[in-house]
């Protein structure tokens, strides 16, 4: 019997759960195909297959799905309604599964997390494994291993960042935003490149230890209920004492961000700029804004010395 081929689009939640998924399917003995970094072609395909008002990250996601069609047996499209009790996610994540299955004609794996209705991550992984025909024991051991590896990789990244913060004397900028915006070739990577050229150390908001998340969120917002936005807020309030400035990255027109950003911008005490990226963005405009922001930070540092 040939191996099952699973396609994982490298967009949206891949940047959060990618390691977990890949290890899980590798342990089960599936073949995995991960779509390449976002290219111009992928973005254009995505725009063709999505609504004009959908956010940039969603359009990119649809492009990745289009790339994977006919290249694999199943595509992993997660449906996440709620990952923490009494909290919510952007409704795009709960619509994702049905949206993709209606737009494209392809096989999808059922992967559903809804903690409020007693369907947690472990349950999602077992139903997913069972639907592919693996034994329960194999699934559990693969899930445990994947979880361990995910934790290890995350801790490594966080400790690397800690070392960087402690040792660096250069100007440090916190790149804050959803992981799928920060690490995407067309959204975050552009900004990263400009910052690196200007000799600046970058701190990422998704490399953050969420041990004191609840207390740290309260500094910025008391009633926010979007899990991913709370992580950004907590990371900002955690790092705002050690960095020189914050760049807040948003893809246009993100629903939860439109309100959360307002709270962040009004409550943060250090220089902060909000870059809103959409598919018609000009590189020069971005460059000018970032460079002038860096100038402000440099001036500020001089004055403090």
């Amino acid at each position: 019997m040939s191996k099952i081929m699973i396609g994982i689009p490298k967009a949206l939640l891949y940047y959060k759960y990618g390691n977990l998924w890949i290890t899980f399917f590798e342990e089960l003995g599936c073949e995995i195909i991960v779509s390449p970094n976002t290219s111009k072609k992928i973005l254009e395909d995505g725009i063709k297959y999505s609504m004009d008002e959908a956010c940039m990250a969603m359009k990119i996601y649809m492009g990745h799905i289009y790339y994977l069609i006919d290249k694999c047996d199943y595509i992993l499209v997660p449906r996440l309604k709620c990952v923490k009790k009494h909290e919510k996610l952007c409704t795009n994540f709960s619509a994702l599964y049905d949206l993709v299955s209606n737009v494209f004609d392809t096989n999808l794996i059922h992967y559903n997390i809804d903690v409020d209705h007693k369907e947690d991550e472990f349950y999602a992984f077992t139903t997913m494994g069972l639907s592919l025909g693996f034994s329960y024991r194999k699934i559990v051991s693969a899930y445990r291993l994947a979880k361990q590896k995910e934790k290890l990789l995350k801790e490594r990244e966080i400790s690397k960042q800690k070392v960087l913060i402690a040792s660096s004397t250069k100007i440090k900028i916190l790149l804050a935003g959803h992981p799928y915006n920060l690490h995407d070739e067309f959204i975050g990577k552009q900004i990263e490149k400009i910052l690196e050229e200007n000799n600046i150390d970058i701190i990422y908001s998704d490399r953050y230890d969420d041990k004191y998340l609840e207390e740290e969120v309260k500094v910025i917002s008391k009633k926010n209920y979007w899990t991913f936005n709370k992580e950004i807020m907590a990371a900002i309030s955690h790092y705002q004492d050690v960095v020189d400035g914050i760049i807040l990255i948003t893809s246009f027109p993100c629903g939860p961000d439109s309100l959360s950003n307002e709270m962040i911008l009004r409550n943060v005490k250090i220089p902060i700029t909000n870059l809103i990226i959409d598919e018609g963005n000009s590189d020069t405009g971005l460059l000018t804004r970032i460079e002038s922001f860096i100038d402000i930070l440099e001036e500020r540092r001089k004055n403090h010395e």
Binding site: E53, Y97, S101, K223, Y225, P253
Partner: protein, 355 residues
Amino acid sequence: MNKEKVISFPHLGDYHIPFKFLLTKLTNYKVIEAPPITKKTIELGSKYSPDFVCVPFKYNLGNFIETLENGANVLMQAGGGCRYGYYPEVQEKILKDLGYHFELLTLSDNDSITIKSIYHTFKKIDKRIPLYKMVYYSLLTILMIRYMDNIDHYIRLNIGFEVEKNSFIHLKKEMLTSFSTCKGYFSLTKRYLKYKKKFRNLAINKPDNCLKVGIIGELYTSMEPFSSYFLEKELASMNIEIKRFTNVSYLLYQKRLQRRKNLRYINQYCKYTIGADGIDNVYRAKYLIDQGYDGIIHIKPFGCTPEIGAIPIIRKVCQDGKMPIIYFSFDSQTSETGIKTRLEAFYDMLKIKKG
């Protein structure tokens, strides 16, 4: 110094009447209505709102600013659902930064409106409100909303065919003032029956094969006529029978009861719920096709996330059922002429299709 408390709330269609009724009966605060929505309201609201927030936020904020100028110092906001649940905190922050002094109360707790959260809100207003009184007037208000929605339903079916111009609107105004002075269940029901009879007696000239159109979409733009640029009025002037699903009684209780049934009805398209009214709208699209309607109008504010998730599915449903559908996306800058032109073109198409 203990200042007199003046309470106010944002507008939503005609529902300010039952809500004001509830607040005056339950609390000893002075209740004022926000000034009616005008162009100025939305200008004020957009000025202080985040850039790409959805339009209801801007309307609500505009209402708040205008009512604060009129002397309100306690504001009420509902909350719950999608982004709407996070409105109160951001609006409070924006208004406080503008220098207003007030207290903001929310009906929702965390992210959903429950009986418990409403109870706690009213306890916050006044600890001495007895429970029986709260239950009595809440149910009375819900009944009033239900009666209003029933009448509205009848109006929507027939307003396009009225013989005497504006007769429906005048009678509705009369009914609402009469409702707002009712004393209890008996007097409310008596008034409802009286006006129901009056509405049935209004002369209409309705052909058998008139055009029938269903309005689906996001709740605020459906219920607040100003935000949809009086779309329903426009449709009525074209002699079209209108069916609209969203109203407050739907949101209050029908939605919860129907969720499972709706999901079963559309199980060939959807497996999961989408959030807010997403799944309901897919259901409605299918329902309208099965009922033999002539067209669907989908309305939403710009950037409404649940609807953006639902639209590709609705599009598929309509393609399968060969149903004409038009999408409107409203923002604070939408041009009224553009909407009219598109609507007229849609009307012409429906007419030709019907033959």
